[in-house]
Amino acid sequence: MSKSNIEELERIASQVRRDIVRMVHGASSGHPGGSLGCADFLVALYFNAMNRKDGFDMDGKNEDLFFLSNGHISPVWYSVLARAGYFDVNELATFRKIDSRLQGHPATEEGLPGIRVASGSLGQGLSVACGAAQAKKLNKEDNLVFALMGDGELEEGQVWEAAMYAAHHKIDNLIATVDLNGQQIDGPTEEVMSLGDLRAKWEAFGWHVIESKGNDMDSLVASLEEARSLTGQGKPIMNLMHTEMGYGVDFMVGTHKWHGVAPNDEQLASALSQLEETLGDY
């Protein structure tokens, strides 16, 4: 991908990060850490990797689909969806407020375009993504299904049920990503529940495993292209994506303390001073 295109994605990601901290500040609640860490990934996905149709319909036939399993990082998804044109960016101001379509965790109940299943209770998204990928095969579609999970989320047993299933059923139109930021609510994953050798685990389950740098746009875009090139070969694809929680805001980086805490006015100002406004704030 050309340097100018990478720079354009980075500019979008900067705006998305501004949206994230402003949304969480505006709601006085939400999850900025994981959202900031995954901003580059979701931008790369929606503005480069995915083949998307204009508009939104629930069935999503003949386009690539994305499922966010770790629903608590809804701010980044909402921002990317709005910036990609699924709904008006001004609606981001309603995040977590009464009568909003932007629920604390993603939901379909209020009809927000871009969302196809509720998530937030962890461990369920990979199963849903597997089902959607199999529906695409039944419909004789070539399109792909993407899914994102948190690393702490891998502690849920259902993830491994889906892992086993995807390999057994050769779901090779599925690219799942794990956000390896090493943090969860109660502390570093290594202290809370060590995940062990994740590459070996996913390979042992029958997946094709790649690793990527989730906060390096150039490298990330290349990794997603590599992942796409591996589809259609009889195995599901796992992208182990190394990120830093809170990336882009110096005082939020690399700590679980900003997993689910909103910045105050002063912290917001400090965060925004580090993030260029590229597309105009909502």
Binding site: M58, D59, G60, K61, L65, F67, A107, T108, E109, R116, V117, A118, S119, G120, S121, G123, Q124, G125, L126, S127, V128, A129, C130, G131, A132, A133, Q134, A135, K136, L138, N139, E141, G157, Q158, E161, A162, M164, Y165, H168, H169
Partner: protein, 317 residues
Amino acid sequence: MAKFTYTKTQDTRSGFGAGLAELGRTNPDVVALCADLVGSLKMQDFINENPDRFFQVGIAEANMMGLAAGMTIGGKIPFTGTFANFSTGRVYDQIRQSIAYSGKNVKICASHAGLTLGEDGATHQILEDIGMMKMLPHMTVINPCDYNQTKAATLAIAEHDGPVYLRFGRPKVPIFTPEDQKFKIGKALHLIEGSDVTIFATGHLVWEAILAEEALEKEGISAEVINIHTIKPLDVEAILKSVAKTGCVVTAEEHQMNGGLGDSVAQTLALNHPAPLEMVAVNDSFGESGIPDELMKKYGIDAENIVKAAKRVIKRK
């Protein structure tokens, strides 16, 4: 003369299997998933005829619910098959978030419900499933009474857009409803007209209610019998209309008293037309191993107990 007779018994799960097989022939969007209980759920005919539309999940029910939710995205109509216990309590949060809250068109088909599962005992005899499922917004809850009705219900839920819990059982029970009946979700069925008491029954207890009515008639008591095959949405109009005539109610079900049909009817009466009510249901207890008839007698959910409840409730009018 008996108002309902039968010449044949069959398990309701076979009605499901027959319905699913028919759907396989008539509706190309229908897909089926099973968590290692193909034989028990009678899904083999569907599988034989539609191998590409069947997904073996293994013993992983949580994953099965998520898969089914995902398959609706793309227009499929997934039917999941496992025991009622593993279709509800084991996967409640998966159903709640990925199916009910997400409004997914998944049909949760649950066999071996209740005490009549028999010898396997209380670990498998779920008596709380109707309660769990009816509490979920968007969920439809159906408990048909015999083979023919279960087959008809299976066909009907494919036409209904939204999540459905379809509950059926293991033992062979009398077939007394018409073959090729049209099943209307949410429409109570008047089986026997009466004037002294109304018996609202669901599932296997509908036949017991018919037996109870015969016994009551011999004692000069006129009982109305209504089959509530759909617990949610409940046919409130039919319930109130009957109670306005008879003035008292017995509910009968193979479920806990807490959270079952009786609860739903009690709520309806209390909110609209208070009337004496007796519930024939399992009273805050787990089941145990045994043969179905013994268990229904021991836990107080057979025709004899319906008769006793009817006599009690009439005295309370």
